[in-house]
């Protein structure tokens, strides 16, 4: 059994709380839950939606069309009508046609409980009844949600939930086919931003400086909330330039350090990415994409900054670009990012986007044991004489930390000699140092992980994806296979420099991306000499769904 619930309303009306509580309730019942949100860039007003997809086992991919639609005002009903399936249950305060289930939340809250503030909890109760979930599970989630506000508030919310539940239960009769009774399964329910932050911590991150920018802010928010448990030093910088330079300073001094931002802030960081390349001070930068150019659509999703990330920074120097695709992958990608940054003393950019950042994913097991965690810090006592930029075969010079032994550690943004002093020796030192840095790229490329292949053995058509489109593309492959199409998937989590990849010889390659130009296709051509014959693109600020991909496949194939 599977169901998509869409909750729509204005900013400030509480769709986030209703959605979160309902998602938690379904997760507590033991189901796979995936949520995604789209919202306007404002604090109050507008029309936003929170979508919950519930299924027996996790399907971490967005769906557009509602089986159950809860609307908190009549404008939201008008705006989202195209996203409502025929014969969906329309849950609201006012009648909305033959499939509507009227629950006067606010009026009930006022007349029975004396306060309209309980309207949303009445709505939660109603949704729980429509979904065929035990009222008791919602009560437990509410008890936790409102625990800090005291028993009286919890009791009032339980009463409100019961009102909504009973009302909807009576009204539903045989119109609601859903039942999500308790199962024995348990999944983590975690957002992309939370998983990125936790992965950073697990990967040894001890310092983050960032400037707030949607949709990246959740990363430092999570780490700031947990600083006492994690010992991660969190600093809100005055701007993105300060943020990345602080991270470089902390990294130089021995802390694994990061920053997180979105496109506009990343643009401000670009000079420092080049600095990281030149000084060989590692840094991890999360670039949570949203549609540009400029301010663009600040709260929407896109994969429009891939080429920007790959080419970020003046001059020539190695860097790695990774992309997280879901919560579990986000966790491990951050560990990998810190590992590669430290191993090769380079900047590593982790691409995320609004879909990944704000969505909540169901994860059965994070497999922490497989996370990459390795220190590259040499023992200062192993050096008689220490040269920070010593020439080596791999181009990687042993990196000591200042103040942690007898040796002096330097960093210089000018071209420098092995000691880190400014050089203008164009005959030997400058070209050798340039070559040393570029040598790292060769070894870095060998370390980059190959793409994940799915059902490619006999595939005639292969979807090539990266980042958060993975879930939708996987789902589309399965759906198309059921229809008899021989399709498969190659998905890259580590993008640049391009890892080795074996493409089935005869298959047609399709690029599937949340952008308007097919940026990954350009990089495939550059990296593999393989062009994509077909492109499935979406660049309206909303995520690609399996249905989008399936429809486009039929239209273009």
């Amino acid at each position: 059994m599977e169901c998509t619930i869409v909750i729509a309303g204005s900013a400030g009306e509480g769709i986030q709380t209703i959605g979160d509580v309902l998602a938690d309730t379904l997760a507590a019942q033991g189901y796979g839950v995936f949520t995604w949100q789209e919202y306007e860039s404002r604090i109050r007003g507008g029309q936003n939606s929170y979508t919950i997809r519930v299924s027996e086992s996790p399907v971490n991919a967005p769906t557009m069309e509602a089986d159950i639609f809860l609307f908190l005002n009549s404008e939201s009903l008008e705006k989202y009508r195209p996203r409502i399936k025929p014969h969906a249950i329309l849950l609201g305060e006012t009648p909305a046609g033959e499939d509507s289930l009227v629950v006067p939340f606010k009026e009930m809250a006022r007349s029975v409980l004396g306060r309209s503030i309980y309207a949303n909890t009445i709505a939660m109760g109603a949704l729980t009844a429509v979904l065929g979930v035990e009222q008791e599970t919602l009560e437990r989630v509410l008890a936790e949600e409102f625990a800090a506000k005291g028993d009286e508030v919890v009791r009032a919310n339980h009463k409100a939930a019961a009102l909504g539940f009973d009302h909807a239960h009576r009204a539903c009769r045989d119109r609601c086919p859903w039942a999500f009774p308790k199962t024995e399964k348990t999944y983590y329910l975690i957002s992309g931003n939370e998983a990125l932050a936790l992965g950073a911590f697990h990967g040894g991150c001890r310092f983050i400086a960032a400037y707030p920018m949607t949709p990246s802010t959740g990363i430092i928010t999570f780490l700031a909330k947990h600083w006492e448990e994690t010992g991660v030093f969190c600093e809100q910088a005055e701007d993105e330039i300060a943020a990345v330079n602080m991270a470089l300073g902390a990294s130089f001094a021995g802390a694994r350090a990061m920053t997180a931002t979105s496109g506009g802030g990343f643009a401000l960081m670009v000079e420092a990415i080049s600095l990281s390349g030149m000084t060989e001070v590692p840094v991890v930068i999360v670039l949570a994409q949203r549609p540009g150019p400029a301010t663009g659509l600040p709260t929407r999703t896109a994969q429009g900054d891939l080429l920007f990330a790959v080419h970020a920074g003046h001059g020539e120097f190695p860097k790695a670009v990774l992309a997280a695709s879901d919560a579990q992958d986000a966790f491990h990608t951050m560990c990998r990012a810190f590992h590669l940054a430290d191993q090769f003393q380079i900047p590593v950019i982790v691409l995320s986007d609004q879909l990944l950042a704000d969505s909540r994913f169901s994860v059965e097991n994070f497999h922490l044991e497989s996370a990459v965690r390795h220190s590259f810090a040499p023992d200062p006592n192993d050096f008689q004489e220490y040269k920070r930029y010593a020439f080596t075969e791999t181009g990687v010079s042993p990196r000591l930390y200042p103040g942690r032994g007898p040796h002096l550690v330097t960093a210089d943004s000018d071209e420098h000699d092995e000691w880190g002093h400014i050089t203008e020796d164009l005959a030997v030192t400058a070209p050798s140092m340039h070559a040393k840095r570029l040598r790292k790229q060769v070894f870095l490329q060998q370390e980059m992980r190959a793409p994940f292949s799915y059902r490619t053995e006999d595939a005639e058509d292969i979807f090539c994806t990266w980042g958060s489109t993975k879930g939708a593309a996987l789902e589309a492959v399965d759906a198309l296979r059921r229809e008899g199409a021989r399709v498969g998937l190659m998905h890259w989590s580590e993008l640049w420099p391009p890892p080795s990849a074996s493409f089935p010889r005869k298959a047609r390659l399709w690029t599937v991306e949340n952008n308007g130009t097919g940026q990954w296709a350009s990089l495939m051509a550059l990296g593999y000499g393989r062009g994509a014959e077909k492109r499935i693109l979406r660049s309206d600020g909303l995520p690609l769904t399996a249905d989008d991909i399936r429809r486009a496949y039929h239209e273009l194939g």
Binding site: I190, A209, T230, S251, G254
Partner: protein, 291 residues
């Protein structure tokens, strides 16, 4: 007590022969030695410009980064390892111009860092353009009818923000300057020392012109009096006045809460959390336990 010799290195110096920057270099080395520090204890951070080359000319750890970005780098270094004595040595174009926003926020953040700002009132390395402190009316290569904008009075701005230590020194008096640097490094919190550093190549006046004008802050001045410090600094005739204008030891230093909780151990890259600590946080993402 360590000696100045410990800080000597043999890197060829790129400054113009006779540049007052040599005096600042002497003062820095003398102060570090006077503080009993070893090169391994000290990290210099700079941006870009002639002044920003200073870290290359003595033995210590250093980070010679981007134009204008010395302060955030130094802040990150200090956050990661508070045992290091971290100083920023850079020019006014770097610190008041390109990186001015970072300085304003350093006043708020208050890291225990000493800023030594070489003020030559000029962009020297790019051949004589006006800088944030060039006097209005002075003819410069991009201002052939004279600079129209007013010079920034950063020491007054610093005092207004309660920057814990605010002083002015003179590059041609390294003895007095090293005394200011020693006091500034010891002072808890952010210290700003602006140094009058006449430019012998692009400047408009001979060195003696400066020597005649530089004078000490009156002995009657109380540096703990913020308003008195500010009124001294607001008088244009006092722009060659040297010494410590303002001291304040009441400000909370940057990172105090973190360091109270975790002590002053460096944040070390090789420390990975126990699997159990990550799992503990992960468990909060499990659904509410069943009763």
């Amino acid at each position: 007590m360590s000696s100045v010799d410990l800080f000597q290195n043999d890197v060829p110096i790129q400054w113009c022969p006779g540049c007052p920057n040599f005096g600042i270099l002497t003062a820095v080395k003398k102060a570090l030695a006077g503080l009993g520090l070893k090169p391994q204890d000290v990290c210099l951070v700079s941006g870009i410009g002639q002044a920003a080359k200073l870290p290359h000319y003595l033995r210590c750890h250093y980070f010679n980064g981007l134009h204008g970005r010395a302060i955030p780098v130094a802040t990150g270094i200090h956050a990661a390892n508070p045992h290091l004595t971290t100083l920023v040595t850079t020019g006014e174009g770097d610190c008041y111009g390109e990186g001015g926003n970072h300085l304003l926020h350093a006043f708020r953040r208050n890291p225990h860092i000493t800023l030594i700002i070489h003020n030559n009132e000029i962009y020297a390395l790019t051949k004589g353009q006006g800088s944030p402190t060039t006097p209005a009316g002075e003819i410069r290569s991009l201002h052939l009818q004279g600079v129209e904008a007013s010079p920034i009075n950063m020491l007054a701005v610093a005092v207004a923000h309660g920057c814990p230590y605010v002083a002015r020194g003179f590059a041609l008096d390294p003895e007095a300057l090293s005394g200011l640097i020693m006091e500034a490094v010891r002072w808890p919190g952010l210290a700003l020392i602006e140094v009058i550093q006449p430019c012998i190549t692009w400047g408009r006046h001979p060195l003696d012109w400066y020597r005649e004008r530089v004078r000490q802050i009156p002995g009657t001045h109380d540096p703990t009096d913020q308003k008195a410090a500010l009124s001294l600094l607001l008088e244009d005739e006092n722009r060659f006045m040297v010494g410590c204008f303002y001291k304040n030891d009441t400000r909370t230093p940057f990172g105090a809460r973190f360091r109270q909780r975790f002590g002053d151990r460096p944040l070390a890259g090789e420390d990975f959390p126990d699997m159990e600590r990550t799992l503990e946080i992960l468990r909060t993402f499990r659904p509410t336990p069943r009763t």
